[in-house]
């Protein structure tokens, strides 16, 4: 690992000063960053440890449920407010990583983990995300794990988070701090598609940091489900995952939320399928139609065509669980 300077500022202002330069990186849990630094994929000059900041609270607020950026994934997954109000988030968190990693990984860090694939990690291979302009190793390579939505010729990697899929479905808001003050953006607009700049995974600018996320209150708690399909039963990235949430009233779907993981450069909301389900009955037929609608813009590569069948099947199955049909 390349040598670096390590500091642990005591205040948010000092952190913002320290991250003003592009060579500085925030570290919280470090589960992805330290891994990438060992591989030589990332090599910051300075690590800014933010663990002295008071960002590890979970509390109800006028905006709903506020979750600080430093809350650990393990703590969040077992929190009584989360289990009560947003069990979908708890399910997604427990489907992610391993117990040891969840004890280290933070909410902000989970969001900031790199969108990545094996070619990003292999420094002997071309990768536009790691080194812009070198090409994409995955495009003509072994792309079984890769994107079927929203990719570009530059990059077909997927964002591996489970937590982020649930937060996208739940319509969370991200609070970001910079030297000019705070700003709030919808969770679905935090991560970005690769386009011409796959080196950027999200819209956090240099010098900015995540303070936390807010989840608005909803009526999804009774009818939500996170279904993750992977190569082994636990501790593996998703081939496809689906967060499904239904607001069911009097046998009718008042509102539906659907998001997928393992299929795009960012957590992928299925807005068309959600619209279709609104006002409909929670039947298997409607769930299957919604799943087919969600696949309209899907595009497979040489080794991931199986996802074109797996994805709609997973959407329908997740909806059946959420709707009480499974």
């Amino acid at each position: 690992m390349k040598q670096f300077q390590y500091i642990r500022p005591a205040s948010q202002a000092a952190v913002l000063d320290a991250i003003a330069k592009s060579g500085s990186k925030i570290i919280a849990g470090g589960t992805n960053l330290v891994d990438l630094m060992k591989k030589g994929v990332m090599s910051p000059d300075k690590l800014v440890d933010i663990n002295s900041l008071p960002l590890n609270t979970i509390n109800t607020s006028p905006k709903g449920l506020h979750i600080g950026a430093l809350v650990l994934n393990s703590v969040l997954s077992e929190n009584s407010l989360v289990l009560d109000k947003h069990p979908l988030l708890s399910m997604a968190l427990k489907a992610g990583a391993s117990p040891q990693l969840r004890n280290m990984a933070t909410v902000g860090g989970n969001m900031m983990q790199r969108t990545r694939c094996a070619y990003f990690y292999d420094t002997t291979m071309p990768c536009n995300k790691r080194t812009p302009g070198t090409g994409c190793g995955a495009m003509g390579g072994y792309n079984r794990m890769h994107a079927i939505f929203g990719s570009s010729p530059q990059c077909i990697a997927v964002h591996p988070s489970d937590m982020c899929v649930a937060l996208a479905a739940l319509g969370a808001t991200v609070t970001i701090a910079g030297k000019k003050g705070e700003r709030h953006i919808p969770f679905t607009e935090f991560h970005r598609l690769p386009g011409e700049h796959p080196e950027m995974d999200n819209h956090l600018a240099t010098g900015e940091m995540i303070l936390g996320v807010d989840i608005p209150d909803n009526n999804f708690a009774k009818n939500s489900y996170y279904l993750k399909v992977r190569d082994r039963q636990s501790y593996a990235f998703a081939l496809v995952s689906v967060a499904a949430a239904l607001d069911l009233r009097g046998g009718v779907i008042k509102e539906a939320r659907l998001a997928m993981g393992g299929v795009a450069h960012k957590p992928w909301r299925l807005f068309d399928a959600e619209k279709f389900l609104a006002g409909k009955a929670p039947t298997e037929e409607n769930f299957n139609k919604a799943a087919q609608l969600a696949m309209q813009s899907a595009k497979a590569y040489e080794y991931n065509a199986f996802k074109l069948k797996l994805a709609p099947a997973t959407i329908a199955e997740a909806l059946k669980h959420a709707g009480g049909l499974a």
Partner: protein, 213 residues
């Protein structure tokens, strides 16, 4: 625990640190001589070597390991795993994948299991670490160690320290209520010998025994 002395003196000063600083100074001056006119060499090298030394300097690390306070001096890039093994000679904690994928390096930090290979030493300053060496009370093995022996919860044994540290945490967390739950919450520990059924049996027995772990 080993009786060997740490390579780095407890006060964080001394031969190792001094040698590193001198080395950086010398090489900086050599580089400066090669690249700059003589008149500016002296002033520039004095300035640069201070900057470089500041970047690469070792940092003090105080942590309690298995009940014993340790005052160390570490590079920011040293992982907790490497510090335990190389500086404290606590080689029970194993380096498997070194990337958080196998769980062989599992230790407890303030009572919570983590991958020590992905933990920077400087980030556990002031914390309490428990390694596999800290579980037994003298010659009396921890109930989980006894259970792994009884149920043959290993073959080659390389993953075993991590498995045991994770197994203890699994019960403490309240995630050992069924075979399925144990398998899910032990999924961060890989055993290439495939001793999983026996590991699950060992954990179930300790859980059923109701002892405080």
């Amino acid at each position: 625990m080993s009786d060997k002395k740490p390579i780095i003196p407890p006060n964080g000063e001394g031969i190792s640190n001094g040698t590193r600083r001198d080395f950086i100074k010398q090489t900086t001056v050599l580089t400066a001589v090669a690249m700059a006119p003589g008149t500016v060499v002296k002033a520039a090298s004095d300035h640069i070597d201070e900057q470089i030394a500041a970047v690469f300097e070792k940092m003090p690390l105080k942590m309690e390991v298995n009940g014993k306070l340790q005052n160390l001096s570490v590079e920011p890039r040293s992982t907790l795993l490497d510090i335990l093994r190389e500086q404290l000679d606590l080689t029970g904690t194993k380096k498997g994948c070194d990337h958080g994928q196998c769980g062989a390096c599992t230790v407890h930090v303030d009572g919570h299991r983590v991958n020590s290979c992905l933990t920077l030493g400087v980030m556990v300053n002031g914390k309490k670490i428990t390694t596999i060496e800290g579980l037994a009370k003298g010659d009396e093995l921890h109930p989980m160690q006894e259970a792994f022996l009884k149920h043959d919860g290993f073959q080659c044994g390389y993953c075993t320290p991590g498995q045991i540290m994770s197994a203890v945490a699994c019960i403490r967390e309240g995630h050992a209520n069924s075979e399925g739950e144990i398998r899910e919450y032990m999924s961060g520990n890989i055993c290439r010998c495939g001793a999983y059924p026996n590991i699950v049996n060992a954990i179930q027995e300790v859980k059923a025994g109701g002892q405080t772990v």
